[in-house]
Amino acid sequence: MRYLYYPGCSAEATGKGYDASARALMEKLGVSLVELDDWNCCGATSYFSVRELDSFAIAARNLAIAQQMGDDELCVICNACYTTLAKANRYMAEDPKVFAAVQGALGAVGRTYDGNVKVRHIMDILINDIGLEEFEKHVTRRLTGLKVAPYYGCQFSRPMGAFDDVQMPTTMDRLFEATGADVITDFDAKTDCCGGMMMLTREDAALRLCHELLVAARQGGADVIVAACPLCEINLEAYQPRVNKFFGTDFDIPVMYFTQLAGLALGVDPKQLAIDKQVVSCASVLAAIPA
């Protein structure tokens, strides 16, 4: 199996661990990820509100390159990239005016895009293409007893719900159940917002959201929170000291990309998964997993 792969900007900065672990995990599963040539920022979620057409064009450039590379699917790891690219597709399909405008913009840089590249979240590929049965076959270190809080975030299944339930996603639950982990399936805050970019503009509001998430995780007895988005991950992990300062709490919960923890279960070297790069030490998690 082979997929064209779009890492997204975060993968080169705060989200290095997500990129590294995604690649390592897929390699272990015998899937090769081929990086999209000359990709650019997806435009992220806020640009839509500023200049809508430009943001579609920026997103569509990536899809145009995918088309040019002869692929009709593009694997994405970041929830925001996933939603942004898929949204561009959807608007182009539903509104001929958007389609024409984007074509015009792409034409100006000598590109064209027909709207036929399907944007796939890496979780979608894991669950639906590779399949849990196949995944489970590769599990070499069962995560028995490890309490995992599956945190999906906002844009994993909203608004599209393309491969999981919009309100109550369960794919991550099922993935880690397949590793033998003790998944907190009733994790109440699994789709609550982490505060996103508000951490930079309205820190108090964002910290409040993070605080609630961390409380929910602790209430569930989580040993580790797994995330599917670089922004969620960084907010939950790196801002724990700020949360503690604001709310007088003492959170020190390891937060990992779900691909990191899944990689561990498949026996991938923690270094290759960039687990040592995490802000909150994952030593407790590593210690809990049998060799």
């Binding site: 339930d165 309100q167 109550m168 009733d186 109440d188 805050a189 605080h211 609630e212 409380v215 929910a216 209430q219």
Partner: protein, 657 residues
């Protein structure tokens, strides 16, 4: 044949038509058309002076064909046909041109509306010379009525009809009549006990010599037509002889299968495999749940019920019976279903304890319910704080767009009951808008405000178990944006009641299909006219009442049941009924006996006469769809009122301009 003298009347309908269509212009134009001898316009053709115009022209000018360009024929065709008939003209020589609903109301531009009105009118002017005088067909009426659904609506309709001496068959699919109302504790806003006001009616219906109760039964097939319906009813096997069973409940005591979730108690209480749904059930007869009874499942059981039963009423060999009934009218009162809030996962119904539906709360607060009327949590403790979430599955584009009408009020009732039982308990009502529209409702709302209930304007965002403060520890937390205060609130609650909306019954569509009418977009039964015929359906002789039509409270339901009963009575109290003569007929001189019409008739109204070798229409059974006309290879069946020549003429008229 006398020459065709067509009169054209163009109605202004106030400004409804005249505001868009140049009435003078069209009327003048119509006067020039072939066969038209008089063309008039009038402010309101449906008024008496308007109708008099038609009558006078028929009598004085010898007009013998009439077209009234006005509203939809659904609205006033009977009015004008009656006027024509009063003046001595066969009513079927009058046609309507629908220039209101199909023209003035739907067209933006005045010139365009005027042109379209001409085309619509011209189609009818061309058609009229081909119209034939027709006589309504008179068929006998069976005086019996069937009421389907034994909730308050069905019971009320049955009692009203019985009081006039008519035979009534009351069909109920559950083992007892009573419906949802029997589950309620109190009723808003007067707080009468539901059982106190309902059970006398239930028992009256059960004892009424004119009412034949068909409980634990379902309608399988409906055939026939107004005044003459043939209904097949499946009487499900109770495995108990209802003639000998006395309802003593000794078998219930004896039954070894004791933990079946009780449907009547919303699964909160338990019943036995042989059961009586509730003590006041009518008929008060036991029923064996075939899916739970060990004997009926083929497992070993000592059958203590048989031993306990004095009159030896238990009969494991009993089979379903399919019974045939003939009635003149049918009243549908099949009720609603509570919307299941499981899909609304953010409210955690089914995931977190003590998040309950309104119907579950009805049972909890009911003295005869599973908690003996004590408002308690799952652990048996009394809640210190209760949040009531309005509009769950109502006024929500994701689920049901409609307002369920009763939730605001029953939520207020819940608040009152909680305050009454547990004065110290905090009660929060989370509402979008408070709709207290009925008699005494606003006053009730005000009373609740005075009773200290907290009203929070905002649709609840989420019900969570994550505690952010010691106060929230171990409780439910309702997140809501209080839109009056402009803040996001976290309301700790021990119990969350989801005021679920009313949904159409899951089988509403298939039931409607069985009876030959339709459902509205929201899934409730479709009335014939939303304002003027709210209890009729498109099928003559079939009426609707209660929540199967749309959510409504008990007073409205009872009123509608009375209206439906009056509608049915107005039909079955006559020896005969006139049905539209737009039926098919077959000329035996032309029929070749190929059987095609026999094959396509949806109502088996065409039969093959072996002796004559031709097909014959059973006029009384023909409903006038005209399928046979289109299907016949040689146009032998003809449908009165919809002859090919009439349709061709309409096409020519419409296309001539």
């Amino acid at each position: 044949m006398p020459e065709d003298k067509i009169a054209v009347y163009f109605c202004h309908c106030g400004s409804n038509i005249a505001g868009k269509v140049d009435v003078e212009k069209v009327t003048a134009w119509a006067a020039e058309q072939p066969n038209v001898v008089v063309s008039r316009e009038y402010k309101y053709m449906c008024s008496d002076p308007g109708q008099d115009l038609i009558k006078e022209d028929i009598q004085k000018l010898g007009v013998n064909r009439v077209v009234v360009a006005a509203c939809s024929p659904t609205m006033h065709e009977p009015t004008f046909r009656k006027a024509a008939s009063d003046a001595g003209l066969n009513p079927y020589l009058l046609q309507m041109a629908n220039v209101r609903e199909h023209c003035s109301w739907v067209t933006e531009d005045k010139d365009e509306a005027t042109e379209k009105a001409k085309r619509i009118l011209n189609a009818q002017i061309h058609r009229l010379p081909f119209n034939e005088a027709l006589d309504p067909i008179e068929v006998p009426v069976n005086p019996a009525v069937m009421v389907v659904g034994g909730g308050i609506a069905g019971i009320e309709a049955a009692l009203k009809l019985s009081a006039t001496g008519k035979k009534v068959y009351l069909v109920e699919k559950q083992p007892s009549i009573g419906g949802h109302m029997a589950m309620f504790d109190k009723t808003f806003p007067t707080l009468d006990c539901a059982a106190c006001i309902l059970t006398p009616k239930m028992s009256a219906a059960g004892k009424d010599p004119n009412i034949e109760l068909l409980a634990y039964s379902e309608v399988e097939e409906v055939d026939g037509y107004v005044g003459n319906f043939k209904v097949k009813v499946r009487k499900k096997a109770r495995y108990v002889n209802t003639d000998t069973c006395t309802g003593c409940a000794a078998c219930l005591e004896a039954c070894v299968v004791r933990k079946v979730p009780s449907e009547f108690d919303q699964g909160l209480g338990k019943r036995t495999a042989i059961y009586i749904p509730f003590p006041q059930a009518v008929p008060l007869r036991a029923t064996i749940d075939a899916e739970k009874c060990l004997t009926l499942k083929g497992k070993k059981c000592k059958q203590p019920c048989t031993t306990a039963c004095g009159p030896q009423a238990i009969d494991f060999e009993q089979q379903d019976e399919v019974l045939d009934f003939e009635v003149g009218a049918i009243i549908m009162a099949t009720g609603f279903e509570l919307w299941d809030p499981t899909p609304e996962t953010r409210y955690s119904y089914g995931q977190l304890d003590n998040v309950i539906t309104s119907l579950e709360f009805e049972r909890i607060s009911n003295a005869s319910g599973p908690t003996g009327g004590h408002i308690v949590l799952k652990n048996g403790e009394a809640p210190k704080s209760v949040a009531i979430l309005h509009c769950v599955g109502s006024r929500d584009e994701n689920y049901q767009e409609h307002c369920s009408r009763v939730c605001c009020m029953y939520s207020l009732k819940f608040s009152h009951l909680i305050k009454e039982h547990l004065p110290e308990t905090e009660v929060y009502e989370l509402y979008i808008d408070m709709r207290a529209y009925g008699k005494g409702y606003e006053e009730f709302y005000k009373r609740l405000m005075d009773e200290g209930v907290h009203f929070v304007r905002g649709r609840a965002a989420e019900v969570s178990s994550v505690a952010l403060s010691p106060e929230e520890e171990g409780r439910l937390v309702v997140k809501v944006e209080d839109t009056l205060l402009g803040i996001v609130r976290r309301i700790p609650a021990d119990m969350v009641i989801l005021s679920s909306g009313l949904a159409p019954a899951k089988d509403a569509k298939s039931v409607a299909q069985t009876f030959g009418f339709g459902c509205s977009a929201n899934g409730f039964y479709l009335e014939r006219h939303p304002k003027l015929e709210p209890v009729s359906t498109v099928t003559d002789g079939i009426f609707i009442a209660g929540c199967c039509q749309y959510p409504k409270d008990i007073p409205d339901t009872v009123a509608q049941a009375g209206a439906a009963a009056a509608g049915a009575l107005a039909l079955v109290d006559n020896p005969t009924v006139k049905v539209e003569p737009t039926v098919s007929y077959i000329d035996p001189e032309k029929c070749c006996g190929c059987h095609i019409c026999v094959s396509v008739c949806p109502h088996t109204a065409i039969q093959y006469n072996e002796e004559k070798g031709v097909a014959e229409v059973i006029t009384a059974a023909c409903k006038g769809c005209g399928v046979c006309v289109a299907a016949c290879g040689s146009n032998v069946p003809q449908q009165a009122g919809y002859l090919d020549d009439q349709i061709f003429a309409e096409i020519e008229g419409a296309m001539a301009l």
